[in-house]
């Protein structure tokens, strides 16, 4: 550095300060601090990086310019889900998690970071009410990790290896869970029937070597499991643990799994007040009953209420810290690290804003719009709903009967500014609606698919040159 390099993010690049500090420690140059780094490991050249944009306005122009190339779901009509969902995020949620005090804190103690402890304990508590569970963790990374850990807990508790996977699970999630637990557990699929778990099939496969039955509800295709209690009873009869992976968004109207025999309930909180962020905003919850056999197997931090020297003052601390890898390295339960606390605070604010009536209203609008979309698409000739289960937010359609492929539907509708769903097979498309998807949006999708089906039928009839584009459906 022949000329002084002074950067706004690095106050002590000011030349005089730097010189003063070197003098204070008796060093001729910073080189002395690197005496332990051998010469043959030194880079010996400048890093080959793009030219920096040190003036803030230049940086803004560059990064904003790149982001401007994105065309977000607000500029398309999106029916995309499969783990990331477009829900309304109340303004107060973003206001709270944008506060410097929360945004830039990390791992302070229950004194100077009292607010963080209270906000996260309240998150645990608000989730506990929604899920009817007494214990909820400080969030782990995402629903994938939460499920992997929930099953690992079941394995440790039972000392058994077999896990019955009785629902249709997102492939990426199944991939993660399988690789995460494969040293300790063997996953066996019990193929669902008509969208939900095959209760008889589970019973046939259960035995005293089964650690857990894993149910996903809603499933990969949004199907709601409606025989949880029977599954729980069968699992418990052989000493197995019922692990239910779920999305909490529906429990304003749906019976929480804990009330139907679930032992561990886990999943993702992205639906509770988090934007889509290109799939980059997830947090994992693990909820159990207040039973130390379960609690002591949890790797995550758990915040608990505590008294202080002042009567009436609300204090907090870590519950059973000795469980964790922070306390005992590899002797702790799995590991704990920086995960998704800010998203947990967001989910808590979201639940506080929604209240019981808001969550009920949201659940109802999701069920209603989903049912409406199922009818609208299922009524199109050649389009078939893949199962008869009750669905929340997502459902699958089979387009084979219309002579179409799922990717063909996607390609054709993208040209109209519609993302009609996620391709899940040659002919299977998973369609997602939320409270942001209005009736007219669903009608527009149905019209576009209808047009496509008509065009396909016409093509099949070899009347390619005579069929008009059904513009009237696209309005």
């Amino acid at each position: 550095m022949s000329e002084p390099f002074v950067h706004p993010y690095i106050p002590n690049t000011a030349p005089d300060v730097r010189a003063d500090m070197l003098a204070a420690v008796g060093a001729a140059s910073v080189e002395e601090f690197y005496a332990d780094v051998p010469a043959d490991l030194r880079l010996g050249r400048a890093l080959d990086l793009p030219e920096p944009l040190v003036a803030e306005q230049d940086l803004v122009r560059h990064v904003s310019g790149l982001l401007a190339r994105n065309v977000p779901t607000t500029e398309r009509l999106s029916f995309l889900g499969q783990g990331t969902y477009a829900h309304h995020v109340p303004a107060v949620v973003d206001e709270v998690i944008g506060r410097s005090e929360f945004l830039t804190a990390y791992a302070g103690e229950p004194y100077e970071d009292h607010g963080r402890f209270q906000a996260l304990w309240q998150y645990q508590s608000l989730m506990g009410e929604l899920l009817a569970m007494d214990v909820v963790n400080v969030p782990t990374y995402d629903g994938f990790q939460a499920t992997g850990t929930a099953l690992a807990m079941a394995g440790r508790m039972t000392g058994r290896r077999r896990v019955l996977v009785a629902s249709d699970v997102l492939p990426a999630k199944l991939s993660k869970v399988r690789d995460y637990v494969r040293v300790h557990l063997d996953l066996e699929a019990v193929t669902p029937v008509d969208g939900t778990a095959d209760v008889d099939g589970i019973a046939d496969r259960l035995g005293d070597d089964v650690a857990a039955v894993w149910i996903e509800t809603p499933s990969r295709t949004g199907a709601i499991e409606h025989r949880l209690q029977a599954i729980a009873d069968a699992a418990h009869a052989v000493g197995a643990i019922l692990v239910v992976g779920t999305d909490p968004v529906g429990y304003g109207v749906l019976t929480p799994p804990a009330e139907q025999g679930a032992d561990i309930v886990c999943g993702d909180i992205q639906s509770l007040g988090l934007h889509q962020w290109y799939g980059g905003a997830h947090g994992g919850f693990i909820a159990v009953h207040d039973d130390p056999r379960f609690v002591m197997e949890m790797p995550s931090r758990l915040f608990g209420l505590a008294t202080t020297d002042v009567p009436g003052e609300v204090g907090f601390g870590d519950v059973a810290y000795d469980r964790t890898s922070f306390a005992h390295r590899e002797e702790g339960k799995e590991w704990v690290g920086t995960a998704a606390a800010l998203w947990g605070i967001a989910a808590g604010v979201h639940l506080a804003l929604m209240g019981p009536q808001g969550m009920r209203d949201l659940g109802e609008v999701l069920l209603a719009r989903t049912a409406y979309a199922q009818r609208a698409l299922g009524a199109i000739p050649g389009i078939r709903l893949t199962d008869g289960a009750v669905h929340l937010r997502e459902f699958a359609i089979d387009v084979a009967g219309a002579g179409l492929t799922a990717s063909g539907v996607v390609d054709a509708l993208r040209a109209e500014g519609i993302e009609p769903g996620v391709v899940a097979g040659e002919h299977e498309l998973v369609v997602c609606v939320t409270e942001l998807t209005a009736q007219r949006d669903i009608d527009r999708l149905a019209a576009a698919v209808t047009g496509l089906v008509a065009a396909s039928a016409a093509e099949a009839a070899a009347t390619l040159d005579t069929v008009a584009t059904p513009e009237e459906h696209r309005a």
Binding site: V37, V96, H114, Y141, G315, A340
Partner: protein, 524 residues
């Protein structure tokens, strides 16, 4: 009194906000609403009927969840008060959380990400609609590849420990692919490497061997050579270690691991002091990871979301987690992992808002800036070490008389023996001066430990203020120990009793459990 204003006293007369806020459930007023939900359209209702009433038997919730009922401004006010009772890095001289690299997260980056052009992007959109996001991910990975020297980098993981898990999962898959999975059952780490290296290796099914340093605090090469064998799957080490000591024999460590067929995994959580100085690949490592939220300037979010970056050599590249962003000419696309990929660790492309922040942070600095980051972080650390070692009762065990890289693990053992005041008590008292302080990871190999990592973000005056606070607390420990023992005095809450937190009969992890266990304490 008239002007002029008197000079400031030697120490800041800090007091944290103390709102004495109840838990949120106690603020509930039946009938209040915080936010309303869009209504079901009449046309939808006509078509589908009462969807709740028509749910199958047992599926409709009987009792509504006992969430609080609050007007919008009450929710806002409650949480803003809680935020004021929290000491973020933007507000304090956050050098007390060693190993965590509490640096400045630039505000312009918050502005940059706050756009529907990023927040309203769905990960399964047409890649043609996501070219900006994909290009930023790709460019960030390439910059981290240059910084680490590794051939390929993935930003798929959501934190440092998730990245450590990805490291060991790749190592496991690599040995299995070579038919050595059953043979290689051990992972070697060091006691001054982050605990997640040991814990993730254990979770992946490995037996963990933990090495202690030599008498001078340097990683012990002879001990490593004794521990290595054909059973070794990998060494997983941090360098510089959490003591701030750089292992000068790191190349020999890697070579020794390779000599028995093991892989070498580099935890670069402490990379802030060596950016542009030395690189993981140049020391021969096969895999490495960065804690992007630490070294590359994204806010720590009260404990996440973070972001991990996994760097690998070409030989390990087939095992990287997926999906991957691929560049083809000037277009970017998404590829699922290949047949040897360990698959997804989490959803999609990782913590995208953090990736954009990190990209902007690196682009604001460039090569010269990153070098200045490293050099200044190291200068700040050695300056602060000088100031701390001037405090009677404080010491820096190991490597006596030598410089440290970006942090130092200190000890109050001498002060503790003299006064009975522990490092933990000193930390609580330091909070009364508006300073955050942390002891260290367990186990406390260094007695009465504390770990300071000043990064590049704090001015000399701030470092002086932090050292002055610790000197003052040490003085109090000798002269007025009760002031320290009964701390905090200027915090949001007073001394907290932790006895209930380890008793299953008494702990209260949720309000629901508290109501059940202490029914008399809660109004009906």
């Amino acid at each position: 009194m008239s002007l002029p204003i008197a000079p400031k006293p030697a120490h800041r007369r800090f007091h944290q906000a103390r709102w004495d806020e109840p838990v949120i459930f106690e603020l509930s007023t039946p009938g209040e609403r915080g936010v309303l939900v869009t209504a079901v359209e009449p046309g939808v209702r006509d078509a589908v009927g009462d969807v709740v009433a028509s749910l199958p038997e047992g599926l409709a919730r009987r009792t509504p969840p006992a969430l609080p009922e609050m007007g919008q401004m009450r929710v806002l006010k409650h949480y803003l008060r809680l935020s004021q009772e929290n000491l973020g890095a933007d507000l304090n001289v956050d050098v007390g959380q060693g190993t965590c690299t509490m640096k400045y997260a630039p505000k312009v980056n918050e502005q940059l990400i706050t756009t529907p052009k990023l927040s309203a992007m769905h990960p399964l959109q047409d890649p043609a609609d996501a070219q900006g996001a994909l290009e930023i991910i790709w460019r960030t990975e390439r910059m981290l590849a240059e910084i680490s020297g590794m051939d390929e980098v993935s930003l798929h993981t959501q934190g440092g420990s998730a990245a450590i898990w990805a490291n060991i999962a790749m190592i496991r898959a690599y040995h299995e692919a070579n038919g050595e999975g059953a043979q290689r059952r051990e992972v070697i780490t060091t006691i001054f490497s982050h605990p997640s290296n040991a814990a993730a290796a254990k979770a992946a099914g490995y037996d963990v061997i933990t090495l202690h340093p030599d008498a001078d605090g340097y990683p012990d090469l002879a001990a490593l050579k004794r521990a290595l064998s054909p059973r070794t799957a990998a060494i997983m080490v941090t360098n510089p270690e959490d003591t701030g000591i750089y292992n000068p024999a790191i190349r020999e460590w890697v070579d020794a691991a390779h000599a028995v067929g093991a892989l070498a995994s580099y935890d670069q959580a402490n990379a802030n002091g060596i950016l542009g100085i030395t690189r993981a690949r140049d020391a021969g490592f096969d895999v490495c990871h960065f804690n992007v939220h630490k070294t590359f300037g994204t806010p720590h979010g009260s404990g996440g979301p973070g972001t991990g970056a996994n760097g690998v050599s070409a030989a390990l590249a087939p095992f990287l987690p997926g999906p991957r962003v691929v560049r083809d000419g000037d277009r970017y696309s998404v590829h699922e992992g290949g047949p040897q990929s360990i698959g997804a660790i989490g959803p999609c492309h990782g913590v995208v808002p953090n990736i954009v922040r990190a990209y902007a942070w690196m682009m604001a600095l460039g090569a010269e800036g990153l070098r200045a980051v490293a050099e200044t972080a190291v200068l700040n650390n050695n300056y602060l070490m000088k100031r701390i070692l001037e405090i009677p009762g404080a010491s820096a065990p190991y490597a006596t008389g030598r410089r440290r890289i970006e942090q130092v693990r200190y000890s109050w053992q001498e002060l503790f023996e003299e006064t009975g005041i522990s490092s933990e008590e000193i930390g609580i008292r330091a909070s009364d001066f508006g300073m955050h302080y942390w002891t260290s990871h367990h186990p406390y190999v260094v007695p009465q430990p504390f770990t300071l990592e000043p990064t590049e973000s704090y001015s000399k005056a701030e470092l002086d203020e932090y050292a002055d606070v610790l000197a003052e607390v040490a003085r109090e420990a000798r002269e007025t120990p009760e002031v320290v023992r009964t701390a905090p005095h200027s915090q949001s809450v007073h001394h907290t009793h932790h006895d209930d937190l380890d008793d299953p009969e008494r702990w209260a992890i949720t309000w629901r459990a508290y109501r059940r266990k202490y029914p008399d304490a809660v109004g009906a």
